[in-house]
């Protein structure tokens, strides 16, 4: 076992707030340049770039995990990290079912395009992706775990779209695998990780977490968050 660096919160250009430079190919190149061993692509309420990124990651020797940054009905953002492609497909169906179809205006909010490996646009999403789903935070957590995934409330110390801003405090009966923080490490009962929440290439890896793992993978990450068999979080780096 050895330490591996991971940044598990990166937006591609599919997120309206993601820079158009954030193509899957560019993200992989940048992540490699930053010495990251593992990343997760986590667009707002969609997983449509995951497969391409997994493929590009394989070619470049970077483990890419399938994820989404989900907006619950309470407008709490959480990372849902999925164990594999079957789970991703199921989760995408679930996202589609709970979509509230807020109309999207690219001029106001930015483009929401799906691209191929050569950065050709092959699709466009016509509803505003970050809009709150009809599912509550409890339902997001339940679905993430039903699919064998990880449920990680995002940027909990930010004043907007965080579990603390929206709900005042962390409900103690919520099953949380880890909390993502941006600033100082608070004294919490949960595992704490840091990620970049990058929307532009320069921000990839600006925050990351080092994990002690056998190899970078979803299963190893899950073990590290639970502190099983020697796997653990070494340090969330700013």
């Amino acid at each position: 076992m050895r330490p591996f660096r991971a940044d598990l919160h990166i937006h591609s250009l599919l997120s309206p707030c993601g820079s158009l430079e954030m193509s899957p190919a560019e993200i992989i190149t940048r992540a490699a340049g930053k010495g990251l061993d593992m990343i997760a692509v986590s667009d707002h309420n969609t997983t449509l770039h995951c497969e391409l990124m997994v493929t590009l990651g394989l070619e470049a020797g970077i483990t890419v995990l399938r994820a989404a940054e989900v907006t619950s009905a309470e407008e709490v953002h959480s990372l849902v990290i999925l164990p594999g492609e079957m789970a991703r497909i199921s989760f995408q169906h679930w996202l589609d079912e709970h979509c509230t179809h807020v109309p999207h205006d690219p001029h106001l909010f930015g483009d929401q395009v799906v691209v191929d490996r050569n950065e050709n646009i092959i699709g466009e999403i016509d509803h505003y992706l970050p809009a709150a789903l009809s599912a509550t935070l409890d339902e997001v957590e339940t679905e993430a775990h039903r699919l064998g995934g990880l449920f990680i409330p995002a940027h909990i110390d930010r004043p907007a779209f965080s579990i603390n801003s929206q709900l005042g405090f962390i409900p103690e009966d919520l099953y949380i695998d880890a909390l993502e923080i941006v600033g100082e490490t608070p004294d919490l009962l949960y595992p704490v990780i840091r990620n970049s929440d990058a929307h532009i290439p320069e921000h990839i890896g600006r925050r990351y977490t080092i994990y002690m793992l056998d190899h970078p993978s979803f299963a190893e990450l899950a073990m590290a968050l639970r502190g099983e068999e020697g796997r653990h979080i070494i340090q969330p780096e700013k």
Binding site: E75, T136, L137, Q166, L167, G168, F169, P171
Partner: protein, 112 residues
């Protein structure tokens, strides 16, 4: 003004917390950010929100609020209802928007 009067005058549905219908409402607070309500709502306020998560009851209790009014026809979950009954803080419902309900509540309270 008692919670029962507001229920009657604004035609609200009593969703839970019947024990607290005699509570006195002295002001109002409108916000959907629980972190904001936690820091700023005054004791005795009626809180107007579209949030239905059970945490609303913990915050209503913490700030000693008199009632929670849920707008836009949103329905609180069983756990919220249960906690409302335990705390004796009524949860009231309306199909009106937050804007309309707040306007009517403000008029009522400022006249009393």
């Amino acid at each position: 003004m008692k919670v029962t009067e507001i229920v009657e005058k604004l035609n609200l549905k009593i969703l839970s917390g019947h024990e607290g219908l005699g509570r006195e409402i002295t002001s109002g607070y409108t916000s959907d950010l629980l972190s904001d309500v936690m820091g700023h709502a005054d004791a005795g306020a009626a809180w107007v929100t579209i949030q239905t998560h059970r945490n609303i009851m913990a915050i209503a209790s913490l700030r000693d609020l008199s009632a929670v009014i849920i707008t836009c026809g949103e329905i609180p979950g069983d756990d919220t209802v249960k906690q409302s009954n335990e705390e004796g803080i009524p949860v009231l419902g309306t199909d009106l928007s937050t804007f309309e309900l707040t306007g009517r509540l403000y008029t009522l309270i400022s006249r009393s």
